[in-house]
């Protein structure tokens, strides 16, 4: 009997439940282990013990941790992520308003990286040993070596200050103003996408090189198929491991957008996370981590399903 793609997807989805539960548990515990609670950070150095106690009581932080946890999980299951300790806003609303921004930034990085990596990797493999290959390899090395916050600042100074052609701080949603929105996404996209572009370029190059030396391609060539068509054959097979890497990288892009949002002053979820950590806003922090985890799980699922589609072996006998 063969495993259908639907069966596979359902199984994977069910696995996501314990993963998410475990993550909430770990995050809940970890943030509370860090010294300096929200009351301390909110009230600052002038806080008296009475004030601290009053604020802790108000935030429900004087309850036993397991009670807090159960309350929280109960709320989350009912779709209520609670209210921020810092500004009393609904965490669900705050995340919902910032998630699209982060997704756009991530997507921009994704688009930049693939539109660079696929041609560069292919060219590098096909023109192996030429100067094209050297360029591809150098890019592959530099791209992974340059810290992206540094690259961000360099781009920002070059295109935002010296040439002043692109905006450097802020964000306009591409949905409300596509042209202006894209202008705001160019530099963050390049900054975020460079490292992934480099990784995918190197990966694609080596996979493709290996594939191009396979015997079956000689058979294809003997049939009189053009070199381009042969390459397409090779690429489909070379892509199987590359897709895994791309999928994993998408997750990293989502994480990488945190620093990008800080450098480019983008009001996304990443910056919300940074603020929540600094102010020990546990509730907001937990909500964001749950959302990030959900995305990782979802991305992994999509990767596996794509893999499943690309690799017939997986669809074989179970």
């Amino acid at each position: 009997m063969t495993t259908s793609i639907r069966e596979y997807a359902v199984r994977r989805l069910l696995w996501a439940v314990p993963v998410l539960a475990l993550v909430t548990f770990i995050v809940f515990g970890l943030v509370r282990l860090v010294p300096g609670g929200p009351a301390v950070v909110m009230l600052g150095a002038d806080a008296s013990p009475e004030q601290l106690a009053a604020v802790r009581a108000e935030l429900g932080l004087n309850q036993p941790v397991y009670v807090q946890y159960l309350d929280y999980i109960g709320g989350v299951l009912g779709g209520d992520f609670g209210r921020s300790y810092v500004d009393n806003q609904r965490v669900g609303t705050a995340i919902a308003s910032r998630l699209p921004t982060t997704l756009f930034v991530t997507l921009a990085g994704f688009v930049v990286s693939l539109s660079v990596a696929i041609p560069a990797g292919t060219l590098s493999a096909v023109k192996r040993g030429t100067k094209w290959d050297s360029v591809g390899l150098t890019f592959g090395l530099l791209g992974v070596s340059i810290p992206n916050f540094w690259l961000g600042i360099v781009l920002l100074l070059t295109f935002g200050v010296t040439y002043d052609v692109l905006p450097v701080a802020g964000y306009v949603s591409p949905l409300s103003d596509p042209v202006e929105g894209l202008r705001y996404l160019i530099l963050p996209g390049i900054t975020l996408g460079t490292a992934m572009a480099a990784i995918v370029t190197r990966m694609l190059r080596s996979e493709l090189l290996e594939e191009l030396q396979q015997d079956y391609l000689d058979a294809v060539r003997m049939k009189g198929v053009s070199e381009t068509r042969t390459l397409v054959h090779a690429m489909k097979n070379a892509f199987i491991p590359v897709v895994t890497v791309i999928g994993m990288q998408f997750g990293y892009l989502l994480g990488g957008s945190i620093i990008i949002e800080v450098v480019f002053s983008i009001p996304g979820m990443g910056r919300l996370l940074v603020n929540a950590i600094a102010s020990r806003d546990y509730i907001t922090l937990q909500g964001i981590v749950i959302v990030y985890t959900t995305f990782f799980v979802a991305v992994n699922l999509v990767v596996d399903l794509t893999y499943f589609y690309l690799n017939p072996k997986l669809r074989g006998e179970s």
Binding site: V34, P35, G36, G37, V40, V41, M42, L43, G44, A45, D46, A47, S48, P49, E50, Q51, L52, A54, V55, E58, V86, D87, N88, Q89, A94, S97, R98, I153, L156, L157, G160, V161, D164, P167, V168, A169, G170, Y171, V262, V263, F264, S265, P267, G268, R271, L272, V274, N275, A278, S279, R280
Partner: protein, 559 residues
């Protein structure tokens, strides 16, 4: 007789007393307060945002680094974009403790008084009287002050009562209102505060940002609870327009403002938390004004023909806090010796790129609270340090001194790094312990430290600094116990400083106190740090007086 305020400006003492009454000793300059957060005010290099949220400040005039001789007349219109060092975390004035939120609130809602040229002036109040015993403060309110739409009605005494009662609930303002027994409306334009005991700093507190007057109906409309008032309605020159959290906040000119202000049509506040990005945004023209420019970027702002740099002196006070109850710091000889090893100037160079002054006390020369320690001050003198230690029987032999610090605030990081380097070169073993800021703050509050690099915003009233540091009835941050030299006398001095209503007597009290601090070193003062503001050349009318509460209503764009 004349006296100098902290700006160095000479002012007539009688006029101060006339304005301020005898009960308000600290009124010479600025606004006091505290209870801020310190946690979310971003890159406070330069000393602005730290210890307790930058709630206090000096009105010392901003010094334009680039001489700006032409003074064009104000022009109306335009929108000013301001780069903030942190996101706005909550806009309910009676709840938020974030400095950047206060800057916004300051332009939207108003308190009873404020300070101008170092002296208290009415904002919503027309005048005031303080009873001789310092227990009753009666304010006459301005007439014809109206709230923004949709409230659109006159502000009256009941609104003042409502606002103060609101901020006094749930410990919202902590101990600041503890001395307030009652607040009552005598008629529509008269409000009386009654204190349970004389509390000299009370008057200054009235100029603090959170002590603003807001209309009850607008609060109820937005949910009613403390913290719900996120679209503030007040009587100020700007009214709330739109807030996209994290992206921007926009406020627009209030047509019904009682004066012919503001010049600008609108102000857009844009959080740009990364300091380098903020400077880049200023130079690229994405923002017109950048707050909290780090010292290391000063050259690039100065060097750009489109931008200029303003410097506001002594907005922060950096010190090494010492827990006098733990070994080896409980030995006064150790504290005295360390105070002689520290080279303050090098810390100012490293921590804030020279934008500060080596200091032995928070108050600059020229402030009435400044006391010239003369030759007695403990300057760097390694031989003296060694002599003190030898005399005390070498208490630091085989010991390592540890300094807690963080990397969030450059001045604190440099203080600790250079202190240990200087101690080591003097033959005293020392190391730093780098913590995340929230963790360090927690250790500070719990007394879990021996020595700690710290920095607090300038506070105009010395009570705000010293009382909490040493007095056993409070947190007693420095754990200066009764066994320490002159402890009882130091407690008495800070207690008297708080209730004494005669200004001259208070100056005497704090002078005595500072002498004892220099003698016994419960903490080591390091530096007064400056705040830097970057401006596009088109921006005019920036009048700094109560930094960090910028008055956008005096500004305009010349383009």
């Amino acid at each position: 007789m004349t006296e100098e305020d902290s700006t160095g400006r000479r002012i007539d003492r009688r006029s101060i007393l006339r304005y301020a009454g005898v009960g308000s000793a600290g009124v010479l300059a600025g606004c006091t307060g505290g209870g801020g957060d310190g946690g979310d005010d971003g890159d406070g290099d330069g000393g602005g945002g730290d210890g307790d949220g930058g709630s206090d400040t000096t009105p010392s005039p901003t010094q334009a680094e680039e001489a700006d001789t032409e003074t064009p007349s104000p022009r109306s219109g335009g929108e000013l974009t301001v780069g903030f060092e942190a996101e706005l975390t909550g806009l309910d004035p009676h709840r938020t403790s974030s400095v950047v939120s206060w800057v916004v609130v300051y332009n939207i809602a108003e308190g009873l008084i404020t300070f101008e040229d170092g002296q208290p002036v009415g904002r919503l109040a027309e005048g005031w009287e303080i009873s001789d015993d310092g227990l009753e403060y009666t304010f006459t309110l301005k007439q014809g002050v109206s709230f923004h739409p949709p409230v659109d009605r006159e502000m009256v005494a009941e609104d003042v009562v409502y606002s103060f009662e609101r901020m006094n609930q749930e410990e919202a303002m902590g101990g600041d209102l503890a001395a307030m027994e009652s607040v009552e409306a005598e008629d529509d334009y008269t409000v009386t505060f009654t204190l349970s005991e004389p509390f000299a700093p009370f008057f200054n507190f009235l100029g603090r940002v959170p002590w603003v007057v807001i209309p009850e109906e607008a609060v109820e409309e937005q949910g009613g609870e403390l913290g719900d008032f996120q679209e503030p309605v007040g009587t100020g020159p700007f009214q709330f327009d739109e807030h996209q959290p994290g992206n921007f906040l926009r406020m627009t000119a209030f047509d019904g403002y009682r004066e012919d202000l503001p010049y600008l049509d609108a102000v857009r506040v844009r959080p740009v938390p990364d300091a380098d990005s903020r400077v880049a945004a200023l130079r690229g023209g994405d923002v017109d004004l950048a707050r909290a420019v780090p010292g290391r970027s000063a050259e690039s702002v100065r060097g750009d023909s489109n931008t200029s740099l303003l410097r506001q002196k002594a907005t922060g006070w950096a010190q090494i806090h010492i827990n006098c109850s733990v070994e080896p710091w409980n030995d006064p000889a150790v504290r005295r010796a360390v105070a002689h090893v520290i080279d303050r100037s090098s810390i100012v160079e490293a921590g804030v790129s020279g934008f500060g002054t080596a200091a032995w006390q928070p108050y600059a020369e020229g402030s009435i609270w400044n006391f010239d320690l003369g030759d007695s001050k403990r300057e760097r003198d390694v031989e003296e340090a060694q002599r003190i230690l030898e005399e005390a029987g070498n208490p630091l032999e085989d010991r390592t001194l540890r300094f807690k610090t963080n990397t969030r605030y450059a001045i604190m990081e440099s203080t600790a790094d250079l202190a240990i380097a200087q101690l080591r070169s003097a033959g005293i073993d020392a190391e730093t312990e780098v913590l995340e800021w929230g963790t360090q703050l927690n250790d500070f509050l719990e007394g879990n430290f021996g020595a700690m690099a710290f920095s607090v915003p300038f506070k105009i009233d010395p009570d705000r600094h010293y009382y909490g540091f040493v007095h056993p009835s409070t947190n007693q941050w420095n754990k200066y116990g009764e066994e320490q030299p002159d402890a009882q006398e130091m407690y008495d001095l800070v207690a008297r400083g708080r209730t004494e209503t005669d200004q001259e007597a208070r100056v005497e009290i704090y002078t005595e106190f500072q002498k004892l601090v220099n003698e016994n070193v419960p903490w080591i003062s390091i530096a007064r740090t400056d705040d830097l503001i970057g401006l596009r050349s088109s921006v005019q009318g920036y009048e700094s007086w109560l930094l960090p509460y910028t008055r956008y209503w005096t500004m305009w764009k010349d383009e």
